[in-house]
Symmetry: C2
Subunit: 377 residues, 2 copies
Amino acid sequence: VNIAKVAAEAGVGVGTVSRVLNGSPQVRDATRRRIVEVIDRLGYRPSHLAASLSLGATRAVAVLVPFLTRPSVVARLAGVLSVLDEEGYDSVVFNIETPEQRDRHLASVSTKHRADGVVVISIPLVRDQLAALEAANLPMVMLDADTSGAVRFVVDNVKGGRMATEHLLALGHRRIGFIGDDTGSGLSFTSSGRRLAGYRAALAAAGIGWCPEIVALGPHGAEDAARMATGLLSTGAPPTAICAASDTQAMGVLTAAERLGLAVPDDLSVIGFDDIDSAAMVRLSTVRQPLQDSGVLAARRLCDQLQGRPRRPARTVLPLELVARASTGAVDCRGRPPPTRRTVARTDRRRRSRSTRSNSTPAGAYSNNHPGPVQPA
Amino acid sequence: VNIAKVAAEAGVGVGTVSRVLNGSPQVRDATRRRIVEVIDRLGYRPSHLAASLSLGATRAVAVLVPFLTRPSVVARLAGVLSVLDEEGYDSVVFNIETPEQRDRHLASVSTKHRADGVVVISIPLVRDQLAALEAANLPMVMLDADTSGAVRFVVDNVKGGRMATEHLLALGHRRIGFIGDDTGSGLSFTSSGRRLAGYRAALAAAGIGWCPEIVALGPHGAEDAARMATGLLSTGAPPTAICAASDTQAMGVLTAAERLGLAVPDDLSVIGFDDIDSAAMVRLSTVRQPLQDSGVLAARRLCDQLQGRPRRPARTVLPLELVARASTGAVDCRGRPPPTRRTVARTDRRRRSRSTRSNSTPAGAYSNNHPGPVQPA
DNA sequence: ATGAAAGCGCTAACAG
DNA sequence: CTGTTAGCGCTTTCAT
């Protein structure tokens, strides 16, 4: 049951049926009604495929995302999907976990006209891939990856690492650890590395030397981060604060602190990066970057391109904002003792638990629930 | 630059080019090489669209998911995407947040041949929608929604609620609260409600009456759950344990406990549902259901249908498993005093923080990190 | 092994 | 306003 059958049954030409389908105003009302009736009666369903073929456009965009299960990625994706949906585009999403998948899907997208455009989240591309997209005449916008030559939305991760570190320095910390991603995924994410660079820069500017023994890089995952943090905190000269390359990893650090019996922020300050939803819940200090909104912007930009609307600059830097919550505090002025893993006596259990930290406001180092941005630099 | 141009340039017929494209063995090697060379030289890209039209199949499947940002949903989606990818299908994902979106996308999917099949995650459908899919000849499999007449993968949520509650009862709790979803989303999710039913059944079986004042239903979200939990715990006769309809909500309960200065599990036991990744991190006891795996199964089932392979039963019930971690413990035998919101004195800050709870193992109620299933019934 | 030709279902330009 | 027709780019018999 195709358009021809409908036309025949209604005693009109296919053109007219097509016009009805596409809401053209140039159809007499009586004719339209008759056609609609036939469509219903026959249970006719137009083929999006055939229409696309004829139109030369798919009304679909491909979305490449790495590690779909990471909260920050999902937030971005949600932003992207929401505007694509609004704009009437289908979203074909590819979850990328390995370089092979990246290459395969990128190739298939640019090679077999499946989509009118593509948005790439957090995955750096190489020149050849950009060229392939270009050659395929596929508009592309990148998000959270700074590949030159591409339209992209990024944050200044070096600055972000510096902001986090300077926040800790301002609180009096001098021995600050760092936990970030290694290069294990093979997708060459750069965020963690650049944040580390910012961390180093901030320390250097404060006249503090580089201590590799309190820097740990490993797989991106809370449990991995917890393991690494436990390592850092078990050295002879443990840090009084840890800067994590993501909130997920910062949560791991919090867990490690808890397991070691370290109070946060009294024994250890922890700062993350991203400001994912759960960060506010655990009152984690962090450097916020737009997640969902970055997706919205990127998708809008793509839609503009797809519709031939004017193009703004190719590289957009989104703002970062320090959010100080309860996981960072002034370093103990009395010169804190090395955190011997205190095995707390079994009495007075009540007071040892995840308890009133959130209610006390020591040293004015942090305030109530969502204090908003502080420490402008 | 289409297949005809390639054929012309190579001095062959389009049929032969097509054969090369599809790896047909019936092409002389010399011819094949010549064609491949031309394809490269011309930068020819076959049109998936045209192929689909010709073949009558899109090699794409539509995936409808509600509230993409929920971890349990993402886990399921990841499972679905992984097998669709393996099987060579594109995944067109629709994020559904309102009944209108559900209806619109469902209609568009079943109406405009965009996909060869559809998987629906957690969204109950009505008979008409099933019929529409049927009429469109679109195989569909549902995941985490028990709409009769559909191929579906579900868990027994009533039983799950009972398992959670019985675990708490076995630990000696008699006053057990419940926190779950209200019907606010309009998508009529049923999980929370059925878990509540299981909770009631378990209590009834233990001869414990129904106390509406320690049951709270509200929006699905950790902060909302925290608010509700605070309410429950502030009544004259607060519960000694709370059963949450999801891990996300259970996390909210943990936060509430922390804010109120209640020790977990000494003052309050908390159990969640799902076993999302972060549950293990915070040592949350929970009822585990297969998330990623359920997605894998559902997608495989759909692929089977798409490829006309044999069909197994229409309704598959996946297993549930109680995972006892550190957030549930035996009720205090000394008969615990009402949890007056203790405002802890400002001395001895160190001991008050998120601390050694994880290291102590009171009353043998829980053991080390991943104890696996316990409390079979 | 390969060329020719008939669709797949729709849109849009053109002619009335 | 509406019918006719020429593609859109590919796959697939059917001959050869």
